[in-house]
Structures are given as C-alpha cells and as structure tokens.
Assembly symmetry: C2
Homo-oligomer: 155 residues x 2
C-alpha cells in the first residue's frame, strides 16, 4: 500500500468518524434538550424564580403575549414573576430537534395554565409553545427564545 493510499484511507476514516460523532452527539443532545425542557417546566411549575431564570441564556428572551419582548436577566425575572402571579403553568414537549453540530435546538409542545381570578375562582388556559435552545460553553442547554400563546379566544 503506497503513501497516497494510506493518506486517502486515513482521511476517509477521519471524515467517517466525524460523521458518526455528529450522529451520536445529535442523539445524545436531543435527549439533553428534552430533559432541559422538562426540568425547566418542573421549576417553573414550582414557581422557583432563581432556578427558572437559570435556564435562560444571559441574552435570552421571552416573547410574552400582550407585553413587549423581555430580554436579559432583569426583564426576564419580571416576566417570570408575572407568570407565577397569574397562575400555575404546566407544559409538555411533543417535538424537539437539534442541529447536526449540536449547538442549536428547539422544543415545542402544549401548555395548560390554571389562572387565578380576582374573585378567587380559577380559569384554565390552554395553548402551545416554541423554545429555541443554545448549547453554552459549559455544555448545558440554555433558552435563547421562549414564546407561548393561547389556543382559546381572547378572554
């Protein structure tokens, strides 16, 4: 086997190896993103403001209905606190996707929001959400964008 053949073979294996690494990383990252989505829901449902905030990227944004876009820690803390005051939120992801390079992902699904009423009664809002996730330098997945809106007519 000549030098040229060896170089071609090594190159081919390297490219295949990188391809396989991507496919495996992708599968692993898809699970990680789904887990992050569910873990975020858990602390959001429990109304833990600090832990809920910790799932967002430093430049993360929440696009809340009937309010301007909230970007950065202070605005996000305010938006999340308003969600907590309004009621109790539960969501379930039913779709997720990750880029081959494992640095960008999305999740989407449905939510149920038990809303407090000024009269002490509750109302139930149902809707859908879309979240864009970014892989941080430390390997964790953080929320870059989060948005949800109601399936129901305006109240």
């Amino acid at each position: 086997m000549g030098l040229r053949q060896i170089v071609v073979m090594v190159s081919a294996f390297l490219v295949m190896g990188i391809g396989l690494t991507f496919a495996q990383a992708n599968e692993k990252e898809l699970e990680a993103v789904r887990a992050a989505d569910a873990a975020w829901m858990k602390v959001y449902h429990a109304k833990d403001l600090d832990k809920s905030l910790s799932f967002l990227d430093e430049q993360g944004s929440m696009l809340v209905s009937n309010a301007p876009i909230a970007t950065g820690k202070d605005a996000l803390a305010k938006a999340i606190a308003q969600d907590f005051a309004a009621g109790t939120l539960t969501w379930h992801g039913n779709k997720a996707g990750v880029a081959r390079s494992g640095d960008l992902a999305y999740t989407s699904g449905t939510y149920e929001w038990i809303l407090n009423d000024s009269s002490g009664k509750t109302a139930t809002d149902k809707g859908k959400y879309l979240t864009v996730w970014k892989k941080e330098a430390d390997g964790s997945w953080k929320v870059l964008y989060d948005m949800f809106n109601s399936d129901l007519p305006p109240r």
Copy 2:
C-alpha cells in the same frame, strides 16, 4: 518526515479545513436565512397564498394566537388565508442565528399588522415573532415553526 508525521499533518489540515468550511458556511447560511425571512415577508405582505405557503416545510407549523396549532399544507393554507383576510402584515427581522452545521436556524423581530375593522376602519397591532428554519435537501431554507404575538393589551 516519517509516515506517522505525514498522517498527523494530513489529519490536522483536514480537521482545520472542516472547521474553516463550517465557519464560512455559517456566515453564508446566516445571510441566506435573513434573505429567506425578508423574502417570505414580501410575499406574505402581498397576500400571495401559494408563494407564502412555499416558504414552509412540508411538516411546518404556524402557532397562531387564539387558534390551535396549524401543521401541514391544508391547515397552513387556512391559517395564512385568515391572516390575509384580517389585515396587512409587515415584519422586520432583527436577530438571526444558524447552527455551525448550517441545517437549523432562527429569526426573530417585530411586526406591524394593519387590521381591517368590520366598520371599514383600520387598527394597528404591533408585536414580535420567532421563526425556526430548516435547511432542506435542495439547499433552500424552509419554515419549521412560526409564531407571533401582540405587544398590545387584548382587544
């Protein structure tokens, strides 16, 4: 130079080459996604249903406020036709990001919607949007998810 050194050097150049290719592809794809976002707005603003539909992936979804999620061509055509009937929409992207692998991307920005009123008057809605894009097999960018909501109080 021994065989081992040659193999190491070729491998190093190959990995560097792949890295550079990603960086260049990323820059090019970011421009392509921004262009797709602007081109979609143009046909949406002009109320061209077929062209507006053509920007969505076959399994694309629109997450419209106060309506269930619309997925697939028939549901999307209905959702877009409803948007067209409601008024005239203009949007401007101000953020965009692409995965290193150039297969997944997002755009986000603001919209202005001149809404028709049953009395013949118009009202202006302002809000924000988030779009997730997928690179198709033919190299084009198509919408996987699109969602927008109002900054204003419920009407």
